[in-house]
Amino acid sequence: MSAREEILAKIGKAVAGAEDVEIPRDYRTTQQVEDLVGLFAERVDDYRAIVHVLPAAEVPAKIDELVAGRRMIRPGGEGWEDLNTADGVVTSCAVAVAETGTIVLDHGPGQGTRAQTLVPDYHLCVVRADQIVSCVPEAIARLDPARPLTWISGPSATSDIELNRVEGVHGPRTLEVIIST
């Protein structure tokens, strides 16, 4: 018998006669948040990322200001090409979660490959206000599992030394977020 057949047969035997289980979903699948942008900005800031809230019209100028003098990868635009010598990357995102201060990339247009948002030390991410949802269940509902997804909550960090969070290990050590309203 192959390993596959043997494992499946053992499972069948182990659970034979056991009752199935109903899944109660009494938890919140949405939340009423008066100021989604404000909550998201506060929670991102909690991770020691840098946050700006700006009207959409002012965003391009702000980006130019922030990336001046940096070799920036600009997915979908004219930018630095070489991954290993780039200083940073500027991307959009797929969805953002206010409650947890999380940005999710699905690596669609404007979001680059997974490596492009990982290897450079600086990540500048532009989040549109309408991309912010209240909580995790709302984000899951908006995302497509067929795409590779990267959930980012603050800069790279570790809790491995005495269980305290320390920013800055292998991923980008600086995360800067512009919320475009």
Partner: protein, 463 residues
Amino acid sequence: MSATFLGMPGSFPKNAEKAVQNSQLRYNLRKATHTIRGKRASVVGELPDWQELRAAGKAIKDHTLRNLDRYLVQMEEAVTRAGGTVHWARDAAEANRIVTDLVKATGETEVVKVKSMATQEIDLNQALAAEGITAYETDLAELIVQLGDDFPSHILVPAIHRNRSEIREIFLDKMPKVPENLTDDPPALAEAARLHLRERFLKSKVAISGANFMVAESGTLVVLESEGNGRMCLTLPQTLISVVGIEKLLPSWRDLEVFLQLLPRSSTGERMNPYTSMWTGAVEGQEFHLVLLDNGRTDVLADEVGRQALRCIRCSACLNVCPVYERAGGHAYGSVYPGPIGAILTPQLRGMGSDLDASLPYASSLCGACYEVCPVAIDIPEVLVDLRAKAPHAAAERAGMKVAGWIFNDHTRLAKAQRAAIRLRKLVPKRLPGPLSAWTDTRDIPDIPEESFRDWWERNERA
């Protein structure tokens, strides 16, 4: 290279007795577990629906386990459809052979690894080393353990038993090209690890990972991490091999909405961990292999009481609140799964053939703190008690229990035995002699009263 846990000698009481005499270890553990306890309590307290999430998490896992065969086949189909290859492994040896052959087929002799409990459980690094393949751990704590030629002592933070100055010593001693003026400031230590591994990430062709979850409906694998070493390993190498226990499955995409709330808050005490990667099959031109690992899990599944241990999502909240773990530390458990969850998982996965494994169900005061914090509501005390009944007991103990059972089974026998004990009460020593002293070393013999309650009742109330 960290040595193997399998066949570790000793028993939990003996190991713990040694560990509690190490005051540095006790200090480190107390500091770390108390820090994380506070953080967890505060972020869990933020969610008014925590108990509802917990109930959903428990039920999703139970439903998955009940239908595990069906969902595994669904997972296999989804991964295959998305360009991945699925392998099945009955035990550690089979899984190690599959992974070794896959690495050999690439022609590489070095691989990078994302922290994975499953690959530790099967001792993959040792198996690869035996075939001339070097596995580099990339998680900071795993790196500390690997460089220090040490054992992991915690599920989430394998180097929890080390404080910052000990970590600095290990880095200075074992890390090539480490700056001589390295301080014990945690950001400086993290920076040293970053420099140490950067080049390796960029040149490695093969990576090995585990997974926190797999979604049967979509074939998606999910890895939660903090440092970005996971993203490096999952993204940059040409070939990715993921070794995942069969119980890591979730039926539907939607189920992640529950576990992405339960896991980060329970494990690192954060609203969300810095990075979570999700991928389905072969992505961005990578080659992807999924190794589905049984290694004793189907045996655990067959046990009606013990199977709830398979709900575990390896958050380690139970370790952080356990009074026994806090004092004895992770090494005393002699397994990659320490703490309360280890005390019920290890004896079930490995059986209770060794002294160590048979002693694990007793590595608890049954206080129940572990059950209270468990995000999937595993009733660890219930399983511990059940395992204690199943554990092998010495012939003298079995005989004693048999006699006690015979006496307690009949009230006239009990009364006679009590009166006999009262007549001999002056002769009972404070400490029992010979092998029986094992009992009185840690317990007092209760004083035998001058009169039994039953006799007192007879005299006072009946009259």
